[in-house]
Amino acid sequence: MKLLNLALVACSILLLNACDKPATQADDKPVLRVGATPDGYPHYFSENGTVKGFSVDILNAVAEKINFKVQWVTSDWVGVLGSLETGKIDTVGNFADTPERRLKYDFSVPYYYSAAQLAVSKNNDSIHGLQDMKGKTVAADLGSNYAKVLKEFDPQNQIKLVTFEGQDVIFNAVAQGKIDAFVSGQVILLGQIKRKNLPLKVVGQPFGVKQVALPFRKDARGEDLRKKVDVALEQLRADGTLRKISEKWFDQDLSVKPATQEPAKG
């Protein structure tokens, strides 16, 4: 009996060890925690339980290069920014690198260049670009940089800006004509309109090109991660991976700075 007990204990210890093994192995890889919104097509979105998207592909490629594994943390955009602030996440994709944000975060080298553009209702025939926006109302997403970009192109303050939380609400407000236009990223607008079959269209030239990079907190962990990521991004740029990922999602290479194109200021 005693022997049997002993054998049982020995067996279970072996079993437990066997169970432990894969877990500990996976834990060997350090974790890069990345914030995302569930509705950030084409940057990040979840499909069948996995996170996909342009910025997701970039971050996965970076993580592979630095031998980390990515842990996705999804919440709304304000929640993402709050998580970054408190260190609950390490970085977030599609966060334009601006002087104001540089006061707070260190940025990696850029991984793509984003331009703002306007979208209006499909039935709207009176707005063809920024020059037609005088006295009109435009919606912007809370915490996005595009409202600011728009203001740079509206020096006389003739465009009325309304901030919303959540893009789906904005799509509805613009489609129903409650708001005249939506200012957002060119690729976000094109991607969302196509994917969701929205009754919207983009109008006018893209404007206000900004570089987009990965932000990191100004502490020891953030600095360490940023240095690693910088090296990885340079390698991915050199071997053509950045271009390939960009072409996969947007049919064009946004990983290089476009020739400066100044649209007619409205």
């Binding site: 944000r101 809370l142 309304v162 901030t163 609400v169 509805n172 407000a173 129903q176 004509g177």
Partner: protein, 222 residues
Amino acid sequence: MNFDFAYMLSIIPQILSYLPITLLISVLSILLATVLGIVFALLLRAGKIPAAFAHLYISFFRGTPVLVQLLIIYFGLPQIFPALNSMSAINAVILGLSLNTSAYLAEIFRAAIDSVDKGQLEASLASGLNLFQASWRILFPQACRNAIPATGNVYIGLIKNSSLAFTLGVSELLAAGKLAATESLKYFEAYFAVGLIYWALTIILSELQRRLEKAINKPYIN
């Protein structure tokens, strides 16, 4: 975590500039909700069919999230009735909050009316008052007295629900805080400032309620 206390204080005036819009939404919703609440409390007592309608109404508005109701009113209904498309976001918020709150108030008012002893009505009718006089001068003051504490709670809830207006693009107190937060990237300072303002509003409302209760209780103090 380094909490920037000076920044928190410095943005309070900026956030307070959005107080009028929050007050406008809250006060108009409180008035409309109270009127609707009384109507539905009376409908509950007005025969089978009106009571069934009131029950359905109360069940829906208590049983679904306010945010869902606001989205339905602002975006959903105009798709069925295009004329409603001209409703502004702020009107949609006031309407939505009023409908939602009135459902809670209807139940409170019904309970308050029931809490007045039947003998009170019988005595007033026996002493020569007609039904309207009896209701207005005898039943109503007593029902009011019983309804005030719970009603105050509902009003406080409504003030805080007014922050949902931001989802429809109306910039009010919480929106001002969030805008400040995303600009300065100092989240907790901004939310703290917003929290303090809501707290102050609630303290003022509670004080008004306390004074009203005191005034109404006067006849009962020996």
